[in-house]
Point group: D2
Chain length 337, copies 4
């Protein structure tokens, strides 16, 4: 950590600050400059709070040099983490395809769509049973009934199931029934929920928050790992920007960034990013070319009658075509799909 002091800082105050850091077990080196003096702190600075240092009137600036995360950090875990979900590996050579409707609407619907996406080449099934909706008057999901429907669809197709957990009180239900627990964008910094899934061993699909930086997202993964669960999968789904022609702006640069800084897999959700099915194929092929470990895509066989997010759902035949094209791109970059 590098701390820049104001030019006018008195030596007495500087000495107090040096003393304070040394008491925390840190070694302090000082550069005396013409317009400013600088402290370099050496040692474990992960518990030094930058904002409190900034509150000291003699401090002009604070810069953290070491990353504030440890368990997810590739520096201390150089090889890729591969997460096994019922025999399907996420983070390995194979790009994992997850597909399904936004909402589970009933046993018949989810089973039918599960079969369709399986025939198209999907590896796993997605479906929301508890739905985060902007309006209290909108459909809130089938709840437990929806989870049960997903289990039936898994039984019939063999596809592992992914569903979003919104509250700690449903954790047991999810641990017992789903194969991957999704933490939604709105809950990326719901720290109690992160800690709760961190105390299980279930794979967690951690969506990036609408307005969260990559650093905050990595720290959310660190929350989960710090409670003992190493099975974290990042999922980019677009960030909120000034542009209104798409629902969100998909940030594909996160793929090489997450892979450089962490050892965890990352998958892409083009459906929520675009909010428009016509954009899904382009963004999906782009994500594969950029190195994503998987794609999670909304597919519905009757989008105009879907109970939610119809406008961003692909029809099965379009999904099948996307899988075919994605497979060719995967091959030329040395992967499988």
């Amino acid at each position: 950590m590098i701390i820049t002091l104001k030019k006018e800082a008195q030596q007495e105050k500087i000495d107090q600050l040096i003393h304070r850091f040394e008491n925390m077990g840190l070694q302090v080196t000082v550069i005396y400059g013409e317009n400013y003096n600088v402290f370099g702190l050496v040692g474990d600075t992960s518990k030094v709070d930058e904002k409190n240092v900034m509150a000291n009137p003699i401090v002009a600036n604070v810069q953290r040099v070491d990353e504030p995360y440890k368990l997810v950090n590739r520096k201390f875990h150089p090889e890729d983490t591969i997460i096994d979900v019922n025999g399907i590996q996420i983070g390995g050579k194979k790009i994992v395809m997850i597909a399904g409707p936004c909402s589970v609407e009933g046993e018949e619907q989810i089973t039918r769509i599960a079969n369709e996406v399986k025939n198209c080449g999907a590896d796993m099934l997605r479906g929301g049973a508890y739905k985060p909706r902007t309006s209290p008057y909108a459909f809130q999901g089938l709840g437990t009934e929806g989870i049960n429907d997903l289990c039936i669809a898994r039984e019939q197709t063999g596809l592992p199931i992914v569903s979003e957990l919104m509250a700690v009180e449903h954790l047991d239900e999810f641990v017992q029934n789903v194969d991957i627990i999704q933490i939604g964008a709105r809950n990326m910094q719901n720290f109690d929920l992160l800690k709760a899934v961190g105390r299980t061993k279930k794979p967690v699909l951690l969506k990036r928050g609408l307005a969260n930086t990559i650093n905050e997202w990595i720290m959310a993964a660190e929350y989960i790992m710090s409670e003992g669960n190493p099975n974290v999968i990042f999922c980019e789904r677009g960030i909120r920007t000034f542009e209104t022609m798409t629902r969100n702006t998909l940030d594909l640069a996160v793929i090489p960034i997450i892979k450089e800084r962490t050892h965890l897999p990352i998958i892409i959700d083009p459906s929520h990013a675009a909010g428009d099915w016509k954009l899904i194929e382009s963004l999906s092929l782009a994500a594969i070319a950029a190195g994503a470990d998987g794609l999670i895509i909304e597919v519905h066989d009757n989008p105009e009658c879907a109970w939610s997010d119809g406008d961003q759902s692909l029809k099965p035949e379009k999904y099948a075509s996307l899988v075919q094209k994605g497979r060719k791109i995967a091959e030329v970059i040395g992967r499988e799909l």
Copy 2:
């Protein structure tokens, strides 16, 4: 709701769509134009999901004309709502001043600061016992001990207390002990938490999310009211933008907007918006001039040793000066402080 159809829409598909809306009890009027046809839906459209209408291939555009919120809507509740908190009224003539440290650090600290802010003119005491922190390694708050310390400070000063609730499991503790439950920015769309506080009658301070639109914020208030709790107070604390010289960008236009669209009070938190104590006075006076119903400000008597957010905390003497200046501005705009 106004629905624009594509030029090439077939009459048969148009008739199906008309039929579908009529089955929902809506009246449909059609404008046949040169380049497009338009439906106007008349009736209760609050359950029509725009995104599903958009999914229909013959639809080009959907525009909601009626607001999607009812209970918080000033149209149906023209007079201002005034919320009584232990005899202090929020939303009335008096501008309510809430102050205190970011975190409760112990009984002695919170009681000392409570006395100081009371002497400076504060009406209520704030203090975090459960803290949302980006890093799992940062101080997470004193928890129940912090809530108890706040209660002792209230006993000694008479100041009602405001504290942030992060998880449903602590709801009872908050209902029994605090006077206003704060929902933090990161939990503004934690819908299970909104519903939970909606089932109580406790006043709720609803912070705007970092990247949430005004409409989403109003809908979050609607969630709370739809469960039966009418005591919702909006709190603007800055939104995330590209600017990095401040922690967030304080959006004061929300004051007249919230007052035009809803009947609920709105207070401003300049501390989290600015992230720098030097900016607090300017932003506080601006908020009063713009019509805010209150201010919530971080005050600490030893910011550089605070356990969190030291750089954005005012010292008591600076807070006292701010209150004096704010009072004069309140008077010239016909209010009190």
Copy 3:
């Protein structure tokens, strides 16, 4: 155009407004609803200013249904526009590769790098002679000398040259010397400059502004075409968001959007978007997979000694590798490179 009136609008005022639109040659249809009345305007509404309509106290909302652009609109020009630059076609089957240093630093440097990028597979040479720099104390480009150096490099390699025009006063120099005139992101709404290049027939590479919507970008192209120049090439280079780990956020969804709405080609600049050479390959392959018509990439053989933007420049060997991989992806999606 759809205009929603306030419920309380008096019939007299409504009639005045109808009259006013009819005087503009528009046909007005009215829907009388329970909570609002709606006007549908039929005819050429491109000269109706939404903001002035909004200023009418009886108007609640205005929505434009027809696009405000004509010449760039695919509706009126369904086939793709292909732009010929010295025999190289932009917008056709071949994906065009443009490469070169951020700044021209001298004849020897630009000629050497031109040869290198040609050997790697580049089709055109880029290089800045007039540089938009945040600081007046930073290197501002070699100016006319730089343009001359580019011409020498073209002579030696046969590569057409692309360079940024910053001021109308240099227009003649650019028309005479460069093959594609670049309009930089900061000048995307410098309307006098747009009109000036619109009065030539030179191909124009129109970069998207840092904070400009897709609609504004399309309207900037419309400015150029409306002056008579049909040779416009869109270039996405990232938008400004809250994320700081990349210089900008590359928005690849613009590729299918621009292709759906306009008939013009679109190329991608991953270098300025990422601001970090380590991210260029991933983003470049993603852009090709998403359907881009070309890539413009900064390449420098000694980035740490470059006079500008060294951190985002690829070394030639890395560029060569990127071209190889890009070629394979181009092939599997039915294009060439």
Copy 4:
């Protein structure tokens, strides 16, 4: 400037870098740490380009400690700059009120409105003769005729005039005729235009770009001053964010920030920020309370017939009321209006 080196940096490469900085006349101090080494550069670092330093493979991070601006920097010019415009002082005790229509529509219109705003208490007249419009088909301003109309209005009322310059070719016309040259938001980084107005002595009203950081804005002022013109006035007019209920988000924190970092005056434009006349009064009073040196507000006596921006224009009677209220707030904070 503080440069952090990667842990694995070889001593030979470190020595080369030290040598390179010493050759630039800088003094280099090194801190050798456990996980990283740090260079502190002492001397005039304003010509060191951070991005090129970053391009060096042994560098992990670069942080500028000294501000990159000199002439506008309050450190080297501690007292406030007061700019005299025909006897009216901007930056002094008096808060300067500038008002008028978005566009000049003719001699009669601008003279009539000039008289009205003068009667309401305005000190100066604004009016656009050259208009930056998103659409090439929208009204582009009266040009020279509009400038002449403004001069007639000045003659009749004595109000100095402010108008936007969009192109260098009109500079002489502006120098001869207007009292303050406005540089619009879209041209804030049109560096040729900045340099051109910098070569005059005319006061320049420098609007903040839609998506420009405070640092970039200060650097734009530095461009003007570095050419010899010391008469720069900052003007905040809102930044582009995700929020769509206002046209832009007004950032009032810039007032104390600009005043701390520079010695130049700053005025606020609430009209373009809000885009809705109903919000103007609240934001204007807020700006005064926050310490603004002036306000520039759109006023039109017949907004619904204005040729541009009608929806954000105040009627004269509302402006008069705003001036009255603003005057009282100015008084309680020790200023005049």
